[in-house]
């Protein structure tokens, strides 16, 4: 027997979005503010930056902040603030592209495997297992050093690696959903597989997938930054948060904060996304009735 579900309006939200808004607390609001700021930077970096990305403004390395250069200069005498804005733009948009590609690839293959089962599932899952069994950074190093580093190669390589993780999640979610009677009902109706995946399965996997997207996005930021730090990611003179940490590392010897600015940027963005995802998962979980 089920207990009576009390008819409390906010317990059963008519619209998921309204419900989410009603559950906003300080942490998610802060995270949202940070991410909005980041979005503005990504979109309008050339307008916001006081100086061009690669212009050498002074011959003094690691100069202290002054009126023209609010965060001082870097090891070549370029404006750190401008490079930070341009760098964030590159890093974040590339990370976003990676997460999107990884998701489209991982989700479609994962759901496909869940629906098809049998040998299709076996072949796909074992190939993914094989890919996962290599350390991600090693695969990336091998591919990028043999193909040469460009934004496209970076996106495709990291997206492929990330897609294997997304595939695992999507397949597990799909396996749970595909045995439900409403999928069976769609099959009896004669629906094509594409419709079943898109209309019947996806809406029921959306909340955990959205959370997974956030996590993948942060990993992508860290991954490109790591590659750039190793010199295989975004190439100079283009700025990138990882590149900036690497370039200005020696600044630590001169007791400047220069290499810390991009590092802190990375930390703040990843943290915001992570906290937001945690909050989102927690709220959507609580909103689901038990019998789902």
């Amino acid at each position: 027997m089920k207990t009576a579900v009390p008819k409390v309006d906010n317990a059963l939200p008519a619209s998921g979005f309204k419900y989410l808004l009603s559950q906003l607390t300080l942490t998610p609001i802060l995270c949202l503010l940070v991410l909005t700021g980041v979005l503005i930077v990504v979109l309008f970096a050339p307008l916001l930056a006081p100086h061009p990305e690669a212009a050498i403004l002074t011959d003094e390395s690691f100069s202290l902040p002054d009126d023209t250069m609010l965060l001082g200069s870097d090891f070549l005498g370029r404006d750190v603030l401008s490079r930070l804005l341009f760098g964030a733009r590159v890093t974040l948009s590339v990370a976003f592209a990676i997460a999107i590609v990884a998701f489209i690839l991982g989700c479609s293959l994962g759901f496909f495997a869940a629906v098809k089962r049998g040998w299709v599932d076996s072949v796909l899952s074992r190939s993914v297992d094989a890919l996962i069994s290599f350390p991600a950074i090693m695969v990336a190093l091998i591919v990028i050093s043999s193909l040469g580093s460009s934004i496209t190669v970076l996106i495709v390589t990291i997206a492929l690696i990330d897609a294997t993780r997304v595939y695992r999640v999507a397949r597990a979610l799909g396996m749970d959903i595909v045995v439900q009677d409403y999928i069976e009902a769609a099959r009896v109706r004669g629906e094509k597989m594409g419709w079943i995946i898109w209309h019947e399965m996806l809406p029921n996997a959306l909340a955990p997938l959205a959370a997974e997207f956030g996590i993948r996005f942060t990993y992508a930021i860290l991954f490109i930054s790591a590659l750039s730090f190793l010199g295989l990611g975004v190439q100079a003179p283009q700025a990138d948060l990882g590149v900036m940490v690497k370039e200005n590392m020696q600044g630590l010897l001169y007791e400047t904060y220069t290499p810390l600015y991009p590092a802190v940027c990375i930390a703040i963005v990843t943290l915001s996304v992570n906290l937001l995802v945690d909050w989102f998962l927690k709220t959507t979980d609580a909103a689901l009735p038990d019998e789902l």
Partner: protein
């Protein structure tokens, strides 16, 4: 165990109120002002539809409220102790020892990784009442008392190695380990087959009598309750409707709702429904069957390794109902799946209106797909929780008829009207509907395709008797108006008899008896049909006691 005074009150519940609490700490009452008492050795039944608060009350007697619920008023006196005023540690000490609980689904309540004995004896041993050796001996004697097979060794098995009915009885053994004064049975037989239900009921009754235990028996089926209870508390929407001795309630119900419950109970109809004449076609000849299932053998696993259907043949006629009855594992659902194309046959054929149907769904054409619709057992999971009713009902219309959106909206409203739901429901999500309403939407979806045949797979089994009755009435009404035929699958022979024109009795994948309802119902019966018929309780308190059939006593 000390001998107890017959008149001693074991449990006294006064003014019990339980409410649901949301995050803003607002209370919504679930159960209001419940009063009853149970004397030693007596059984009180809580009866009502789902959502009436029967489980909530029985849990409150343990001093427990589910997450999100609070007990906000009243007292629950076990002997002289008010359970509600005790600390958690004190409550924990009584649970299992003085009060024991038997859950509805034993299969879900047992840990599948531990042996049965370990779980049965656990409470007594960790509470220090018995040593492990004593507990084991006690368990064996309880197994014997509950008529379990091989009482000495059954405890060494794991939960998956015994049947559902046995598991339910093992749960009773678990509850009886410490000789509790009060036993709470929460729908213990609802999930069981009819024949198993009787066996379990017999064991429970014997056990309660032998141990002179008091019990609360929660159920929605008055006919079952009549066999075991002394007093009945009828509940509706968390309030007491009627309280009295079982004889009084059955013979002289005062309240309308009680009468409704009696009417809706799963008992044999007093007379068979009027048999309808076979249809004739335009030329005055007997109409050809709509659906012919011919010597179908099918199974699961690679190349049908595990057969679920052996050589099954049957015919369904237009605007008539064929009932398929059998216990779980009899292959009745598999038959439905084969006809709908969800499963492929090994040998045999299925033909609709004289045309052979391909056994794979993707090889059937749209017209064939449209002609056969499937109504699933659990409306809860058969409706996509993320789709609004408008989309659930609209999709078959778009899929089969290519209607424009406007026409779809209009038709959705008509369909809702057909299943007696208000048109505003189109904008709701499935979780905003009650169980019976969901089942109506489920039916409406099948009807949307304007099919010739609807396969109804146990569509009333998960519903309360009163709601089930209204769904059956709706089905009959729709058949008269739309001329649709049903393949009605059920494990409840009383339901089948009320619905079907022809009946196929299935057992272990074979049809053991097949014919029109009067033919099947006229003796001599096949021995299995007889067993099924004997398993339907009558609305009499002495039915179970008089049941002399040896089939049940020695299993």
């Amino acid at each position: 165990m000390t001998e107890r005074d017959a008149n001693e009150t074991v449990l006294q519940v006064n003014g019990l109120c339980v409410s649901a609490q949301n995050r803003k700490r607002q209370l919504t009452p679930i159960v209001t002002d419940i009063n009853f008492s149970i004397a030693a050795g007596k059984v009180t039944a809580l009866i009502g539809e789902s959502g009436s608060g029967k489980t909530t009350i029985s849990l409150a007697c343990l001093g427990f409220a589910r997450a999100g619920c609070v007990i906000n008023a009243g007292e629950v006196k076990l002997g002289s102790v008010d359970v509600l005023t005790l600390s958690n540690a004190q409550r924990r000490a009584i649970r299992g020892k003085d009060i024991a609980y038997i859950a509805q689904s034993a299969a879900a309540a047992f840990n599948s990784a531990l042996t049965l004995n370990r779980q049965v004896t656990e409470t007594a041993v960790i509470n220090g009442i018995l040593t492990q050796t004593q507990a084991n001996e006690k368990a064996i004697s309880l197994y014997r008392e509950l008529d379990l097979p091989e009482p000495e060794t059954i405890g060494d098995r794991y939960p998956h190695q015994v049947s559902g009915g046995q598991l339910q009885r093992l749960m009773a053994a678990l509850a009886m380990m410490c000789d509790p004064r009060l036993l709470i049975l929460d729908e213990p037989t609802t999930a069981l087959d009819v024949t198993t239900q009787i066996e379990v009921l017999l064991s429970f009754k014997k056990l309660i009598r032998n141990k002179n235990t008091s019990a609360i028996y929660v159920s929605h089926d008055l006919a079952v309750v009549a066999q075991i209870a002394d007093e009945v508390l009828v509940l509706k929407e968390g309030r007491e409707v009627e309280f009295g001795s079982i004889d009084n309630i059955i013979s002289n119900p005062q309240h309308e709702y009680t009468k409704e419950l009696i009417n809706a109970a799963h008992v044999m109809p007093e007379q068979l429904p009027e048999s309808r004449s076979p249809l004739v076609d335009g030329d005055g000849l007997d109409a050809l069957p709509l659906l012919i299932v011919k010597t179908v053998t099918a199974g699961y696993g690679r190349s049908h390794k595990y057969l679920a259907l052996h050589d099954v043949s049957l015919e369904a006629y237009a605007s008539r109902t064929i009932g398929v009855i059998g216990e779980s594992g009899s292959g009745k659902t598999t038959l439905g799946r084969v006809i709908s194309g969800l499963m492929q046959v090994k040998t045999g054929s299925v033909a609709l209106s004289g045309q052979p149907l391909d056994d794979a769904i993707n090889l059937r054409d749209r017209e064939q797909l449209r002609s056969i619709q499937f109504a699933f057992q659990m409306a809860d999971v058969a409706l996509n929780p993320r789709h609004r009713i408008a989309k659930i009902l609209g999709r078959p219309l778009a899929f089969y008829f290519d209607l424009p959106q406007q026409a779809i909206d209009k038709r959705v409203a008509e369909l809702l009207d057909l299943v007696e739901l208000p048109a505003e429901y189109a904008q709701r999500l499935p979780r905003e509907l009650s169980g019976g309403e969901k089942q109506r939407v489920n039916l409406a979806r099948a009807l949307a395709a304007e099919p010739k045949l609807i396969i109804c797979d146990e569509i009333t089994s998960a519903l309360d008797t009163v709601v089930a009755k209204s769904i059956l009435a709706l089905l009959r009404d729709l058949q008269n108006r739309l001329g649709v035929s049903y393949l009605f699958i059920s494990h409840d022979i009383s339901t089948i008899i009320k619905m079907a024109d022809t009946i196929a009795v299935m057992r272990k994948g074979r049809v053991v008896e097949y014919g029109t309802t009067p033919e099947v119902m006229t003796p001599p019966h096949h021995e299995y049909t007889q067993l099924l018929l004997n398993s339907v309780p009558a609305m009499r308190t002495d039915w179970l006691d008089n049941l002399q059939d040896n089939t049940f006593s020695n299993q």
